[in-house]
């Protein structure tokens, strides 16, 4: 009678896919022993990242970010609002993260994903506290009119590291944002000046002279790492996230200052040395992503 040797005995007899489904932790640990992951990446390496600016033509600024298979579409639409009395020369940014049912088999229509409002709040906090955007730049007429920037991020394909991809798409969308030229019309409302009407509108003073881009300082970039026993895996896929549940998200800005560090509990506990290592991995990642963003911006300008 064969003794119950557990998964190790069966591994030689079972088909690879079945083993992967039935004993996922064992499957992944076998790979980690060789310092590699099932998709062939090294432990500290992130997946291929691509960025495309201007994906949504009708929005004032937009970007499509892909990290591996995780795809995020961010779009910014500008609307006019009356600024509050406490801050008469500041605009406002409203950030919303959506996970529509197309992105993952775990999301059902009518029942929003649990993860969506969590990431929404995290993004909101990160972007507003990083000081990337000076809200005074969003003012039109002090006390009367200011821009409200609605940033909507849609997850089109959820394959792990959602926060990283969402933050990248948000930062790219802000880099692409162009504030249109507007003026006050007779009713006291702000209207767009379209190019063909520029002759007729000469009597109306434009509130801002030309289409301007927002001045951005200290763009934040992030990296999520999974802590499992004494391994650190950067940029997890959804399969890795579902079996190894302790992760740490580090957000650094372009001058490598720490913007936020988030370890939302989890069964694993982290030594400060692991946290240091995660920060080092994030620093490398920030350099990579900055280059990718620069390339995407210069591609847009050539067009």
């Amino acid at each position: 009678m064969a003794s119950m040797g557990g998964p190790n005995d069966l591994s030689s007899e079972m088909e690879l896919d079945a083993f992967r489904r039935l004993f996922p932790i064992c499957f992944h640990e076998r790979h980690l022993l060789e310092s590699i992951r099932p998709d062939g990446r090294a432990l500290g390496r992130a997946r291929d990242t691509t960025l495309m600016l201007g994906a949504v033509a009708s929005a004032n600024g937009s970007a499509l970010a892909k990290i591996g298979c995780t795809t995020m579409l961010a779009a910014i639409k500008l609307e006019v609002m009356t600024p509050t009395a406490e801050a008469p020369d500041e605009g406002c940014i409203a950030i919303d993260f959506h996970m529509p049912p197309i992105c993952s088999p775990l999301v059902r229509p009518g029942r929003p994903a649990e993860l969506a409002p969590v990431i929404s709040k995290q993004l909101s906090d990160t972007i507003l506290s990083s000081g990337m955007i000076n809200l005074k730049d969003l003012c039109l007429v002090s006390g009367k009119a200011a821009w409200m920037a609605y940033l909507d991020i849609y997850c089109l394909d959820a394959d792990g590291a959602l926060f990283d991809a969402a933050l990248l798409s948000a930062v790219a969308a802000f880099s692409h944002l162009q504030i249109p030229v507007v003026s006050f019309n007779d009713d006291g409302r702000i209207v767009l000046i379209s190019d063909d009407n520029s002759g007729a509108m000469k009597e109306k003073e434009p509130v801002n002279k030309e289409k301007i881009k927002l001045k951005l300082n200290n763009l934040p970039f992030s990296l999520t790492c999974i802590l499992h026993k004494n391994y650190i895996l950067a940029d997890p896929t959804s399969e890795e996230e579902s079996i190894m549940e302790t992760f740490l998200t580090v957000v650094l800005d372009s001058s490598f200052q720490l913007v936020s560090l988030n370890k939302p509990g989890g069964p694993g506990l982290a030594h400060t040395s692991s946290i240091q290592e995660c920060i080092t991995l994030t620093r490398q990642r920030v350099k990579e992503v900055q280059k990718i963003l620069q390339e995407a911006i210069s591609d847009m300008e050539v067009d």
Binding site: A75, H98, I102, I190
Partner: protein, 256 residues
């Protein structure tokens, strides 16, 4: 504290196109010139791609002019526990719009209505007996709404179902026709749809020559309906060929 307000402030869009355009009064008798320069019986060029979403069993992306839609199909998977036993499969459809799909933020049309119409259009084409007790979920997300949304959603959904390997009697293609004055315009854009006197949408299975859904709204005379139906059916059969070639490309592509 910058940027946070306790109540959401009311905002308005500065865009001029937000204001409702009044329909020009000369339309009833004269010829309508289409804003994108197409002929009245010319459809927009179709861009179709399967395999857009990796997490889904099957998916497709469709771009017809400015109308862009992604559809994901999940399943066949376990029905909800509350559902009674059924020896045929179930279909569950859901359509949603992004907030930036329409020119003015947040003005999405009634999606429950679209979801139920999508369900009815696809029901007839799926071989439900092939997956008893389970459910196939079809989810659509409209990224940009440029007119003729439901036909594009239906076409894209049928491609996604084929990509997922769900058994179908035939591909489902859908086209709509708008009637403005005396003009019959196929595959209308949003501007044309806002001025229309009536619309006719046909969803059919081109190779079997069977119609799964037909919707007529507005004023139509009988000869006009016949003409519009013929236009739609011809366009659907061409669209069916385009869909098949897209699937063939996808199947033969990765093998090299």
């Amino acid at each position: 504290m910058a940027g946070k307000s306790s109540a959401t402030p009311t905002t308005y869009s500065p865009s001029l196109s937000g204001q409702k355009k009044k329909r020009p009064s000369f339309l009833t008798d004269s010829d309508w010139v289409r804003p994108d320069g197409r002929g009245p019986h010319q459809c927009r060029p179709a861009f179709l791609r399967t395999g857009a979403v990796n997490s889904a069993s099957g998916s497709a992306y469709a771009e017809f002019g400015n109308t862009k839609v992604i559809v994901s199909v999940f399943g066949p998977r376990e029905s909800k526990k509350a559902m009674m036993y059924s020896d045929t499969g179930r279909l569950n459809c859901n359509v949603s719009y992004t907030t930036f799909a329409t020119p003015i933020r947040g003005q999405a049309p009634e999606t429950k209505d679209l979801s139920s119409m999508l369900h009815k259009a696809l029901e007839g084409a799926i071989i439900l007996k092939s997956f008893p007790k389970t459910t196939v979920d079809v989810f659509a997300l409209v990224l940009e709404s440029g007119g003729s949304d439901l036909p594009v959603i239906t076409t894209c959904a049928s491609l996604a179902l084929a990509d997922a390997g769900i058994m179908l009697y035939d591909m489902v293609a859908s086209v709509s026709v708008s009637c403005i004055g005396k003009n019959l315009l196929i595959d209308p854009v949003s501007e044309e749809e806002s001025y229309q006197d009536g619309s006719l949408m046909i969803t059919c299975m081109p190779s079997r020559n069977e119609v799964t859904q037909m919707t007529v709204t507005g004023e139509w005379s009988t000869p006009k309906i016949h003409e519009a139906m013929q236009l739609c059916l011809d366009a659907c059969s061409k669209l069916g060929k385009i869909m098949r070639s897209c699937l063939k490309e996808a199947a033969s592509g990765p093998q090299d």
